[in-house]
Amino acid sequence: MLPTLLALPIFAFLVILQSTIISNVPLLHGYADIVLLVIIAWALQERVQSAWQWGILGGFMVGFVSAMNFAIPMVIYTSITALALIIRRRIWQIPILAMFVVTLVGTLFSHSLSALVISIGGTDLPWLDTLQLITLPSLFLNILLAAPVYAIVRDFANWLHPEEIQI
């Protein structure tokens, strides 16, 4: 229960960070997605049981402040949580590698779905420009931030879920 309760102020802080600082530091026209990175890093922690709650809450918070349809961030973040949980079981011995893999796939999935929804809404998106100017720069920034975010979230998870020592 405590991790879920803590997720609320954490995501509030992260969404403010994303909206005020990270959105103002673009690479070409893309920028990092700190909420996505934290959700992935949290879901990849071995002893964490609240990955779904964090994914849903992250999607809810981003959907609340974004002009994007409310359901889209929710679908994106819960899908990526599911992917992270599957990957955690597969390559659990090298979690940092799993972090990079899920970040790569998650960013591509997130951008593809967002672009698809905007296109369905009637906006003409040039796909090549979208890939070159938004998705690839965002992917680069996410990969760049993946390792430090993973380290911080791992320390936080270890503090919240200390390893049981057999006496």
Partner: protein
């Protein structure tokens, strides 16, 4: 009586010597002598004075160092405080300049009522060009209200909560504004893009459009009030086989550094959707 003893020879002699010395001194003949006589005296006095000062510094030194350290700390604290004040004043000056310019804009368009708002964030999605402002329905904001700065059109209110609102910029890929070009007075349609570049479409082929032409809102469609400056044409693309010309333009508003905006609260956008015929309509 002894007449010799009545003459003060000693006094006269001394007086003559004194007068002689004075005359010699005034004539400068005693200078080498005085230099020779004074040099050892000056040297001795300098030596004594130096030792006295050294002793004085030694005796009073520690107290002065402590005092100077204290004064230095106090001055550093004062300096930090003044630096903070300078930064605050510079920020206030920047805000003052923006507000002054906004006031000029409001005076230029007295027919509208305005609510000033600070920009507090951007949309988390890189695909959308929206900003968050710190005014909402409690301040009279409604969906569709135009948003401007002292330079020109920014966008319109897309979503409203009690204390904040989401503004769709005219650079958003799904934004469309009906515009008029000056001096040709040609009507056109402005649309944004994912790269925040703005293009003008639907310019009639028989109209001459040149770089430098002004782009203003036309008021057609009822979404924006007319005659608000948007930017300048930078290039025209015209092909003989196309029905319309298109053009690129440079907005007057710097969308990357938006700080304060004005929301026009007494402009009610007109919803034309009921008038647009649908395929299923009889």
């Amino acid at each position: 009586m002894n007449p010799k003893s009545s003459i003060p020879w000693q006094g006269i002699t001394l007086s003559l010597v004194a007068v002689g010395l004075v005359v010699l001194a005034l004539g400068g003949y005693l200078t080498p002598l005085s230099r020779v006589a004074l040099s050892p005296l000056v040297a001795a006095q300098t030596w004594v004075s130096g030792r006295v000062q050294a002793i004085q510094v030694y005796l009073t030194g520690p107290r002065d160092v402590a005092q100077l350290t204290q004064e230095n700390a106090a001055l550093e604290a004062e300096l930090a405080h003044l630096r903070t004040q300078v930064i605050e004043l510079q920020q206030q000056l920047g805000e003052y300049r923006i507000l002054s310019a906004l006031l000029d804009f409001a005076r230029a368009y007295p027919e509208y009522q305005y609510v000033g708002a600070s920009v507090i964030g951007k949309d988390p999605s890189p695909f959308l060009k929206y900003i968050h402002i710190n005014r909402g329905s409690d301040d009279g904001l409604r969906r569709g209200m135009p948003v401007v700065t002292q330079q020109g059109l920014v966008g319109r209110v897309a979503q409203v909560t009690a204390s904040a609102a989401l503004v769709q910029l005219i650079t958003d890929p799904s934004a469309t504004v009906n515009v008029r070009l000056e001096p040709s007075r040609a009507e056109a349609s402005l649309s944004g893009s994912i790269t925040a570049d703005i293009t003008l479409d639907m310019i009639p082929q028989d109209i001459t459009v040149e770089p430098g032409d002004l782009v203003l809102t036309s008021g057609l469609g009822g979404n924006f009030p007319p005659n608000i400056l948007i930017g300048q044409v930078t290039g025209v693309r015209s092909q003989d086989y196309d029905l319309f010309q298109s053009a690129s333009m440079q907005p007057v508003v710097d969308f990357t550094n938006l700080e304060i905006v004005l929301v026009i609260t007494n402009f009610q956008p007109i919803d034309l959707s009921p008038l647009i015929p649908t395929p299923s309509a009889p």
